[in-house]
């Protein structure tokens, strides 16, 4: 279904259109050739409009130059959906794209209780989740897990769903984010399928809704969710929700919904303590076939305390570095790989800050660095500060000169050369320069 002539056309257009525009407007297009029509499918109306207005003529010219002048160009919004089975791909129009509400459980099979690393910070949430998975509809209903981003709420929720299905494969379980519930409802209203929407959600054995804080301000969706909620609860079906804060604290959510959340059990999940972070890192590495040394796991775990996603990101970075250099993961390699992530240098490195740090280091005043004084005790630090400004910032030499009391760019150039020379011949200067570099970049 994908058009060979379109591939040739793309190659021509890529030569003609600036890369940023080509990658933004042309590359996301998909093409379907049917008879004498070339239909280009744009991901949304903005792209469709842009292509029609600015590139259609050029595309037609390319098709003509490629020997297909008879092809009629049509630009529509849609996509070619490739099914996972051997069935032929089909074109999906936006009107029908996602027309039916989310089908299937949407559960990630990798998120199980076995792969969840337990610690003090999440012990209660895990225990409650396990209880619910063992006795859906009767243990705690609804179960609300709340806590900051990236701490494992979604993992626990999927684990519950997976265990319910494991125990009873005929159970109807659905996981979705609250925005998806809203989007499904809006589509159902537009397509007059709201009754089917209601039937679908009210017939579930377990409804897992992630991030209910995104319901805030969406009154119509909250109302529908409220009724779904009541129907499931009446029939003793399980509801599990997550929220980024205590549900009662979410502005824009109706009181009656907040009150329902309090009927079951609300559990808090916190950032894992160091030992748990270390265990998580070792676990994630093991899943990718890597035995992460303890000292490395402790090094990363000690420094990254915000959330588990950031821990994973840092681990991926270390593993990529090890792969690139062909070395084993050691503490030194980890330090090197995470040097940038852990440094605050970007914000510290301004000419003004360099002047301040250098002045403090040599116990002189910033004013001295900017003055006309030429005594060695001032001139050398000034030259060092200029060399650091050249190394650590993108400022031009005239700009650096200006910032040092309106000096000429040749003075800056001379300072940089002088310091380079001195660093090679004078250990003390070299050491001082390195210390200042370290202060400014760590």
């Amino acid at each position: 279904m994908s058009s060979a002539i379109w591939q040739l056309c793309l190659a021509r257009l890529e030569e003609e259109i600036p890369a940023d525009q080509f990658n933004t407007w042309i590359r996301p297009l998909q093409a379907v050739e049917e008879g004498d029509e070339m239909r280009l499918l744009a991901p949304n109306a903005f792209v469709q409009e842009k292509v029609r207005a600015e590139y259609a003529r050029r595309i037609v010219d390319s098709l003509t130059a490629l020997g297909r002048p008879e092809l009629r160009l049509e630009v529509a919004v849609g996509s070619i959906e490739t099914p996972s089975s051997a069935a032929a791909p089909s074109v999906v129009e936006p009107e029908s794209r996602g027309k039916a509400f989310s089908k299937g459980s949407n559960l990630n099979p990798g998120y199980t209780f076995a792969s969840f690393v337990e610690g003090k910070s999440n012990q209660l949430a895990r225990a409650a989740s396990f209880q619910v998975a063992e006795n859906p509809g009767s243990a705690y209903n609804p179960l609300v897990i709340y806590g900051g981003v990236g701490l494992g709420k979604t993992h626990l929720m999927h684990a519950i769903g997976n265990l319910i299905l494991d125990r009873n494969p005929s159970s109807k379980v659905a996981y979705l984010r609250s925005e998806q519930f809203v989007a499904d409802m809006v589509k159902s209203l537009r397509h007059n399928t709201i009754d089917a929407f209601k039937r679908h959600y009210r017939s579930l054995n377990a409804l897992l809704i992630d991030d209910i804080q995104f319901f805030a301000g969406k009154e119509r969706s909250q109302e529908e969710f409220f009724h779904t909620f009541n129907a499931l609860l009446e029939n003793e079906q399980q509801i599990i929700m997550t929220c980024d804060r205590f549900p009662k604290e979410v502005d824009g959510i109706e009181e009656r919904l907040k009150s329902r959340c309090g009927w079951g059990l609300t559990v808090f999940i916190d950032m894992p303590e160091l030992e748990t972070r270390v265990a998580i890192l070792k676990d994630k590495a093991a899943q990718r076939g890597v035995d992460l040394p303890d000292e490395v796991a402790f090094f990363i775990g000690k420094r990254i305390r915000s959330n588990i996603r950031e821990l994973e990101g840092a681990l991926s970075r270390v593993m990529a570095h090890a792969q690139f250099t062909g070395q084993a993961i050691t503490l030194d390699l980890t330090r090197e790989a995470l040097r940038d992530l852990l440094a605050l240098q970007d914000r510290l490195v301004t000419i003004e800050n360099i002047q301040k740090v250098v002045a403090e280091y040599y116990k002189i005043r910033v004013h001295d660095l900017l003055s006309a004084r030429r005594s060695r005790s001032v001139a050398r630090p000034r030259q060092i500060a200029m060399a650091l400004a050249k190394e650590l910032t993108s400022h031009s030499l005239p700009e650096i000169g200006d910032a040092f009391g309106g000096r000429d760019h040749t003075t800056v150039l001379h300072a940089c050369r002088k310091i380079k020379e001195l660093r090679e011949s004078d250990n003390r200067i070299n050491e001082e320069y390195r210390i200042l570099l370290r202060i400014l970049t760590s």
């Binding site: 890369a19 940023d20 990658n23 991901p43 949304n44 990101g313 993108s394 031009s396």
Partner: protein, 242 residues
Amino acid sequence: MSSPSQLPLDIARTPRPSLEDFVPGENGALLATLREWARGTESRLLYLWGVPGSGKSHLLQGACTEAGRGGRAALVALPLLLGHGPGVLEGLAGSGFLVVDGLQAIAGRPDWEGALFRLFNATRDRGGSMLFAARGRPAELGLGLPDLVSRLQWAEPWQVRPLDDAGRLQVLRQQATARGLELSEEVGRFLLHRHSRDLRHLSLLLERLDLASLAERRRLTVPFVRSVLAAEGRDRFSGRGC
């Protein structure tokens, strides 16, 4: 008597950023990682940050082009799309490779942050690979949606390290060659010593010198460059991109 100026032909001579022509400097590991990312053997998230002019947009363009040869890719240069509204992000989750540049542009814009958050989730649900770039790390951008920040933190963080002057000179000469210009080391150093050493600015400067050289039918010499810049009435630049 000098010959009259020629009007340069309107032929696109802008060099096409690619991973091949990126001068790596200290970014060798990053470059290798981007090549691997573009091959798409696994779903992978990368996050690049660096100061303006360090080469982020070049790398993203190159990675998007390379990924697009083997799959469906889309570039989302946020600073350039703000005028369209966040609806421009709809439907992009089907791209196997999503490249998002200039994240700082949407900081503090809840509708855009929400739209990108949804696009992130939808792309990840479909097993797509993503590549992001911004001027700082996710937590430093001033994003108001913590859910978006933590998802960006999921990506492998890579700092794009600016080139030293030798590297900058190499890039300038490479760009000049791509434009059919000869840029001597002397002229290159002249530019580096008297202008912002931000590569984006230097590239724009080269573009203008290219046009002037065509119009005047002169080679790029220090006196010629000096005269062009003097004629413009200024010899420094400002302005920033993604």
